[in-house]
């Protein structure tokens, strides 16, 4: 039987939720506030922040750029990570510790260092300061999220035996991957994609240092506005959150079938 939670347990969880949610709520409120520095609650409300933001000539182009950048990063990351993790599990187990180690590096290298290093090394046409280089950098930067998610879900399934079972039934490697492996590790692919998407969508340092004004992203516009008008910056933040959430919901919706099949797998354990 379930025990009732104690007061202290409720307080701990409550504190955590407040800690996470207050900045978001504050941003939402600030984005519609008229003036909010002399009173506890704003002195009035208006949508002016949003209209100003939308009227900015860079609003839609930066939004589009960020979406393109995030989706491309997810795509490239999937293409690189999924087959690699699969082959490491099936054929090259010895390479696993090396990969695990490599996947810590992006956390250890500051974005500024990574950006400057890439700009120096790839200082030739057509890569120099291009969106392509930025995508490649973002792939490296967010690789641990994708790798961990995919690797964990591959660990949870007996991939080598499932592969052999499919092969003995006449499946070539393409069918093994698409019909057996991917559906069974889909939750990992999904959560990895979400993390990568959300991270890249809000990423500023790499984008600013690698391409700068050549490929202006949404966070760059946001940072510009923080220097001009806090309300508009808040409005842009809200839009950024919202886009990330809509994208997450879309990915989850598209992956509904995969999630269900994984619940089956989890139940089976």
């Amino acid at each position: 039987m379930k025990q009732k939670p104690s007061v202290s347990q409720i307080l701990i969880v409550g504190f955590f939720i407040l800690y996470m949610i207050i900045p978001i709520v504050a941003t939402y409120v600030f984005s519609v506030a008229v003036r909010w520095d002399r009173t506890i609650l704003p002195e009035g409300y208006s949508l002016e922040g949003y209209t100003t933001a939308a009227k900015n000539p860079y609003f839609f182009s930066t939004l589009r750029n960020s979406l393109v950048l995030s989706l491309s990063t997810v795509l490239v990351s999937l293409i690189i990570v999924v087959p690699t993790v699969y082959w490491v599990h099936v054929r090259l187990q010895t390479a696993k510790p090396l990969l695990d180690l490599l996947m810590i590096l992006p956390f250890g290298i500051p974005g500024v260092v990574l950006a400057l290093a890439l700009v120096q090394v790839y200082n030739f046409h057509p890569l120099n300061r291009s969106a392509m280089l930025l995508i490649a950098a973002e792939v490296v930067f967010t690789m641990p999220f994708m790798y961990r998610s995919v690797s964990n879900s591959i660990n949870a399934v007996d991939i080598p035996t499932l592969t052999e079972a499919a092969q003995s039934l006449g499946a070539g490697i393409r069918n093994v991957l698409l019909e057996v492996i991917v559906p069974n590790i889909f939750p990992g692919i999904l959560s990895g994609s979400l993390l990568v998407f959300a991270t890249v969508f809000a990423e500023f340092t790499l984008a600013r240092l690698i391409v700068g004004a050549g490929f202006k992203t949404f966070p760059m516009l946001l940072v510009e506005f923080t220097r001009i008008d806090g309300t508009v910056a808040a409005a842009l933040s809200v839009i950024s959150f919202t886009v990330a959430w809509i994208a997450s919901l879309l990915i989850l919706w598209a992956g509904g079938k995969g999630v269900r099949s994984t619940q089956e797998v989890v139940k089976a354990k």
Binding site: V157, L162, E164, Q167, S168, L169, N184, S261, V265
Partner: protein, 353 residues
Amino acid sequence: MAYLDLTNICKTFNNVVAVKDFSLNIEKGQLVSFLGPSGCGKTTTLRMIAGFELPDSGTILLDGEDISLVPPNKRGIGMVFQAYALFPNMTIRENVMFGLRMARKPKPYIEKKVDEVLDLVRLSNTSKRYPHQLSGGQQQRIALARALAIEPRVLLLDEPLSALDAEVRVALRGEIRRIQTTLGITTVYVTHDQEEALSISDRVVVMNSGLIEQIGTAQEIYRNPDTRFVATFIGTANEFHSVVTNENTMQCDNMTLTTDRVKSFSQGSRVVALVRPENVEVFDVKPSETRLNLFEGVIETLTFHGAITRLGIIASGGKHITADVNLTGRDMLAHHQMVWFSFRPEYCQVMPD
């Protein structure tokens, strides 16, 4: 020429020999078991037939075609795994269909075939369920149906019953044999369970340390083991380490054993005589007729196994003997009871020590 023909197969992993000079012919429709302890190379050999491992040397011919280097998905060989390996994301029906879809069979044929094999394993009613909703035994029957659906040229079973509990194991092995004989499908069965191997095989291949110890029918393997390994690995055997004293006797401590099986050994050579527990007769009083190999001892342990009772006897010289007796219709034996035991000369298997 045999249907499945393995010649001089060798396989080494990181300088460790897994299989050495393995040669075997399997006739069409036979069920052959590979039996041996863990690491004896039985699974490696099976995986080479399946194509998951490539032999370092040697050839594998299937129906006259050299398949040694053919990739696994092109061999047309069905396989059943110890861990079932059903696809968790597919229903039972989709699992069974998988191989037929890969072979691009027409839809009506697929539907018919799936019904047929599900019927064969008596699980037609589960087709809409997912693997995790089935018991282990049912999952393994589905795995068998899935392998059979593609009408494989050879069926390979890799310890298919090891993950199941005892009762299901016995029932399912009967089922496997029934289906195998019904379809007349050439089958290779890997197991470390001697009872399983002896009960369902046309022929048994006993393996040890990558080598074949003996190939034969279950009875041949059990009754006339070629090597000491086979004799002790299959069933239980009393071992009498002896020295040959003349052409039909040998001396084991203070016991003189008589059997003409020592004829082929020279006088003074060291041999071991093996006698199965069920071939040891036990008497409460000294039998009146003359008997060879009759000795005295004391019952030390008595274990009831149902049909038989296993006795642990200490012979007068101190040697431990195991005897299986049927106590139905005779006086009960008791601990520490003095008994006489004997075995017929022809039940002695003699081999070099």
